[in-house]
Symmetry: C2
Subunit: 410 residues, 2 copies
């Protein structure tokens, strides 16, 4: 059985331990919600201040060239590429995950003449489903096929054009078999489109090794780019010439500053840009990604797995008999950075945890979810968070506290 | 003839004069490019720092409720509404101008069954044309009809579904007759879609008085929201129930936090949101808009007109015979916030001006463009900028200086 001292010793010996110093974390808080909003990197704080005061305030319009704003989407894309097993010229930062999924799914449908079925699983992150519904509403020839979890293989046929799947499920943290699914999708003649929102920055994603065609992902979770940070997208080199971005804004033009009437898509990844990017938010993301400098993604994944394993072990020991049921894979090799438990009063449990400074989140109806961002969460944090949860569940008062907290929140 | 002392006197008497103190402007620079990137409002600087350090860094995920991030798109929309003659529930901040034009044009096409022609003018801001080309590429039943400037009236027929026009032309600054065109568009049974990028924040736009149906506009020009600030869009109340956003991301859902599989559009303007908005950039825009507090848009427009008139008068007096030809309307009632001149060596003239601290911009092949953002540009700035241009054109050396500057820039 692990002890708190074991946690401290292992933290001290962990080569990733020093990376925590790259973040500004509040005192008195154990932050286990980096899967919703990553913590603030010190470099991002400084970079945004510089972008506002010296660049925007001082150099004004000249900053587009002088401070490299015009190339920031590609620069950020290049930094993300290393984290997801892509080449620098296969990734660009742009828009939101939702908008990027629309671009890529629409392009896949338009490029593959006779095929008109877009395939996905129910229960995946809602915006992914909503975007496909919007696409089908706009293109009546598109048929949206939503299958039950695990049903992709059986649903693949010669009418399928693109398959959209989350790499890691937003609720359970379950990891899909990217290589295996890509092989099946390719064999059926379709394209794969991966949502990496819950895997980029926490798993050792390897899109090219695993044969992915297209992907999009989130900048504000494990990439720590700040609230609503721009998203990214990936198009494998072999598809870059054939696929067209239907959101053909000027930043994706081959010569945007020629100001001509006709759209010509830029060669390569640049064509996936659309409008002018939000530079302040993009600057935060760019600097945030430097927290990964010198960090091996295999070590990041291993630490995420170890933190999750420790959390499960401690919850099942310290909180036994209190109604908590594991809702994530027990096997760390198929689990992302978060661990979910169900509890009949899950909302109240989480409100009590938050009131005690342990920040996770709640997903209706009964899921409490804890994220273990390996760049700044320590084993001792995991130990302490479970101790707090144990004290809450042992107490007589937590159900009453629920209503106090509710009133305070509402 | 105006003197420099007249300029100083009129600046001192101008009730808008004190608004300049709401901006942080660099020393030694006359900034006449607020039509490309608005200057930094002091409040925006402070708000971004607070959003980064106290909100993101300190309160982390709780900030979505605690600091009102979740309602920021609507809050910003409400601030913009007053500036453009709309109701607060008709405007929301979201995405980029390009993405918003796509949403609105696609919605208009989808809502009007038999009509399939999208009508616009050539030579308008390129991204507007590019977006319509992308839409037509995605929806083969759409016919894009691009007419020569001034040709909208003659091209309106029973097949037209939506007409996209810039309110103020990005190059010449010419203002279109919004009320007259809206009447003609409505009589033809089509919808109007206005790009307000070069009019919001500088003209007394009045969308509802003038019968506009749909609009989008830019947050980083005269609204001073910072580089690549989120854009906004307007949907008149009478159309809000019928039109659907094809980019149906989760932020536009009626109940985004229910995490259900089926998309139901939010009632009202909220359905035009898509993905998670870039909060740092949106925070800057929100605070920047407070620079308009207590400011009458009719006074803003009047001042823009007076500054442009003064610039034209001074250029034609001080720089007579030097090859400059007015490329904007002479009449301030049909001119936006900028004034353009052509010059055979326009690029070199602008490079020399920039080297002397007078910041305007250049549009190929021969247009030099000067923006007079009425919140912070003074009559004395206009006087001094023309003096500098006169000195440059009087000198023997400016054509050689061109090549030095070119080398420095390249």
């Amino acid at each position: 059985m692990t002890t708190r001292q074991d946690c401290l010793d292992r933290d001290a010996a962990d080569p990733l331990g020093a990376v925590r110093d790259r973040f500004s974390l509040p005192q008195g808080v154990i932050y286990l919600d980096g899967n919703s909003l990553g913590a603030l990197p010190v470099a991002a704080r400084d970079a945004v201040q510089d972008a506002v005061e010296r660049q925007w305030g001082g150099d004004l319009i000249a900053s587009w060239n002088k401070h490299g704003w015009i190339g920031l989407p590609q620069k950020v894309g290049g930094k993300i590429a290393r984290l997801i097993g892509a080449e620098a010229d296969e990734v660009v930062a742009a828009d939101s995950v939702s908008v990027n999924l629309f671009k890529l799914a629409a392009a896949a449908v338009s490029a593959q003449g006779g095929r008109r079925v877009v395939l996905t699983e129910g229960g995946d992150f809602p915006t992914d489903l909503y975007i496909l519904q919007g696409l089908a509403g706009m293109m009546p020839e598109v048929e949206l096929r939503v299958v039950a979890p695990g049903g992709i293989g059986a649903a693949l046929d010669e009418r399928v054009t693109v398959v959209l799947l989350s790499h890691v499920h937003y609720r359970s943290g379950a990891v899909r078999d990217m290589a295996g699914l890509n092989a099946a999708i390719r064999a059926a003649g379709a394209l794969s489109l991966w949502d990496l929102s819950h895997s980029a920055g926490v798993l050792d994603v390897d899109l090219n090794r695993d044969g992915a065609d297209l992907a999009a992902g989130c900048g504000y979770k494990y990439l720590n780019g700040g609230p609503g940070a721009p998203a990214f997208l990936f198009v494998a080199r072999r598809h870059q010439a054939a696929l067209r971005n239907p959101l053909s804004g000027w930043m994706g033009h081959a010569r945007p500053f020629d100001f001509i009437d006709d759209y010509t898509p830029a060669p390569g990844i640049d064509r996936w840009l659309c409008g002018t990017p939000p530079i302040l938010s993009l600057t935060a993301l760019s600097a945030a990604l430097d927290a990964f400098d010198g960090v091996d993604m295999k070590a990041v994944r291993a630490r995420a797995g170890a933190l999750g394993d420790l959390f499960i072990e401690r919850v099942e020991a310290r909180c036994a008999g209190k109604g908590l049921v594991l809702a994530s894979p027990r096997d760390a090799t198929v689990r992302g950075g978060q661990v979910a438990f169900t509890h009949p009063q899950g909302w109240a449990v989480m409100q009590n945890l938050i009131a005690r400074g342990v920040i996770g989140d709640f997903r209706a109806p009964d899921v409490i979810r804890f994220g273990f961002a390996p760049l700044y969460v320590r084993r001792a944090d995991v130990w302490d968070s479970v101790e707090v949860m144990g004290e809450i569940l042992d107490s007589e008062s937590w159900r009453e506290a629920r209503f106090q907290t509710l009133a305070a929140v509402t």
